[in-house]
Amino acid sequence: MAAVAEARGADFPVGMKVLVVDDDPTCLLVLKRMLLDCRYDVTTCPQATRALTMLRENRRGFDVIISDVHMPDMDGFRLLELVGLEMDLPVIMMSADSRTDIVMKGIKHGACDYLIKPVRMEELKNIWQHVVRKKFNENKDHEHSGSLDDTDRNRATNNDNEYASSSVDGGEGSWKSQKKKREKEEDEADMENGDPSSTSKKPRVVWSVELHQQFVNAVNHLGIDKAVPKKILELMNVPGLTRENVASHLQKFRLYLKRIAQHHAGIPHPFVAPASNAKVAPLGGLEFQALAASGQIPPQALAALQDELLGRPTSSLALPGRDPSSLRLAAMKGSKPHGEREIAFGQPIYKSQSNMYGAFPQSSPAVGGLPSFGAWPNNKLGMTDSPSGLGNVSNSQNSNLLLHELQQQPDTLLSGTLHNIDVKPSGIVMPSQSLNTFPASEGIPLNQNPLVIPSQSPSFLASIPPSMKHEPLLASSSPSNSLLGGIDMVNQASTSQPLISTHGGNLPGLMSRSSNAMPSPGISNFQSGNNPYVVNQNAMGASSRPPGVLKTESTDSLSRSYGYIGGGTSVDSGLLSSQTKNPQYGLLQSPNDVTGSWSPSQDIDSYGNTLGQGHPGSTSSNFHSSSVALGKLPDQGRGRNHGFVGKGTCIPSRFAVDEVESPTNNLSHSIGSSGDIGNPDIFGFSGQM
């Protein structure tokens, strides 16, 4: 340490602020002791969600984070991603698991380093390098790229060699080379864009929710393929923002989307299984937004998500996270009929609607954390790339669709998603602030529900079939639809009336966001709400949601689904309201519900896993399965917030798996009562789609 201190001058790295996150108390104690001996300033935290809150409240409070990979409330990789995106702090992963593929995953998620337990003192002594390296690289980004890159890289390499942070022998070499490669790629990509970088060091840009929203909108508008920093910059029209800022942010965003896509692609995680809840849970604002952005998430889902994010207990946002398969179904369903349906949310995005179901074009799979969503099958949802305005709307829609999509067809989604993901993250992806506020539930008015609640809300469900004229959404066929149906219908109705009315309950998610109509408002909502969900708000408005999906084919099914949905009982404000509430909207229902219903046969061992399962592409099949699931709600899904909702999510309101537990049962009951899950009627499976 003395040598290190000397090398850096002053007392660095003495007093460097380290945050250690690990659910293992023994390990936490040992690490704390070791770090104290290194003369660092140590804070320990046994819960990832709490750590995230702490970080959000005090971004500058820490220099580096050390986090375990396996944690019950949140997947370590998810935390890693969130921290990287929101706070841009170096994160070191650690685990007793030394498998190369896991280490690789850590690197891909942006970990600065990966330590194998038991962690040795020598390894901890060197962690200050990561802090320095990161700062140096950032400055470099703003500076003239070129020779500096090489120098820095060499330096990094040398450091790595000397200090051998990674303890995995096999992985070490590969880790290092991966890291170098990544740095190199980053540098190169940065240079690609052509414009001469300014030579002066620029102050770090804080990507606020608002800014990010603008960014996402711009990207959506341009189309992910055409989104070059220069154009994005022009579209954003933010004074003081440089092309370099945009370029580096775009890069991160792409990586993020890719990761999400991979998640959706059903890349099985060994971790996912155990930490299923945790994994999905983190869906927090990021994911939500991303989902929204992608427009794949049906508005309702978005709303639900928003609610969740906002911390609304009732919101059943969990949906998104819960069961990708179900989501997909929902999405799928919705998309079908929708094609024409343009959710009249009043948002320009409607265009995407039709596609939405087809594929989530934008699947901006939000935050990588959403494994459950599975790939947002772009194709499936057919989310057209909505015009920028869409950004907001599409987001919600996308997210909804995504959700649906996810549920339904993991497979299709996957393929589609990748593309979509890139597309439009509609900003939801990461509003740095919004995320934070998530828990704080800024109070995004429930009414933000972009989902557009049909005016007839009260009788919504009941009258859906007839009243839903324009909403074919209620696609009966898809069970998920039915779940979503409620939501979708709302969208379909394109009335901005909050869904809540529909079921008599409040669909917090749905309803509230009145932002339907405006794409831009979305952003504003975004801001105000700080809710990551904000995005949804707008998005929801956009007709995105697969009107078709929700639509239950027959009134009967409607009612049935209605029942399924939770029979109108006052649904907790949260659409998703954790299971306790009537499932009402499939998506909205508590995650458990969602999961249960959605993931019919797939193993839903974990949120993410489900996705991987690759439901057969066929929608119908999905539906069936989902419908089946509805009734049955596979154990996994139930009662457990798979990922998204449940514990660990930063969303304060969290659906709280616990709460959900009971509802789930209810849900299942209701589902069952509404008719056998398998009953096509309920889900309108009979081909209404």
């Binding site: 659910d23 293992d24 108390p25 023994t26 390990c27 104690l29 040992v30 002791r33 070791m34 001996d37 375990d68 396996h70 685990s95 007793a96 698991d97 337990k117 038991p118 040795r120 003192m121 060994p270 299984a273 155990p274 930490a275 299923s276 061992d605 974990s606």
Partner: protein, 151 residues
């Protein structure tokens, strides 16, 4: 008050723990962390470990008996156990955890059960041995202990 005798006992006990594979280098690291500012550090950590791991073992046992078995969850629990154990240098237990995980992967319920039994035995044995070890250390007193842990 024959410290030299006690010290000999302590040294030999520690050596045997290492030789028999109960503990590894990590334990030494822990002892190195111990100093005047935290004179009972190792004992604290070990106590914390045994408390936490007992709970984990119970959870594992329960999870094993639940039907249908959730191997993912089992794997996750044992993984936690493994991480914990490795933090104090409990190498035998760590190895047994690896075996358990392998059985989990193969969904071999019987194998898991056997492994669990072994883990419990190792757990109990290590606990007892370390308790004796710390008792001896306490007898020699902090200063002597510091000298001892210096190895």
């Amino acid at each position: 008050m024959d410290y030299s005798n006690l010290r000999r006992q302590i040294t030999s006990m520690k050596k045997s723990l290492f030789d028999q594979g109960y503990l590894d280098e990590q334990f030494n690291q822990l002892e190195e962390l111990q100093d005047d500012s935290s004179p009972n550090f190792v004992e604290e950590v070990v106590a914390l470990f045994f408390k936490d791991s007992s709970r984990l073992l119970t959870n594992i046992e329960q999870a094993l008996e639940k039907y249908p078995q959730d191997f993912y969850r089992l794997d996750s629990l044992v993984h936690q156990f493994k991480g914990s154990g490795s933090s104090i240098g409990a190498v035998r237990m760590k190895n047994e955890c690896s075996m358990f995980k392998a059985h989990c992967n193969n969904r071999n319920l019987e194998g898991c059960r056997r492994s669990l039994q072994k883990m419990k035995r190792e757990h109990a044995t290590l606990k007892q041995k370390l308790e004796t070890y710390f008792q001896l250390l306490r007898q020699v007193g902090p200063r002597e202990r510091a000298v001892n842990s210096w190895k």
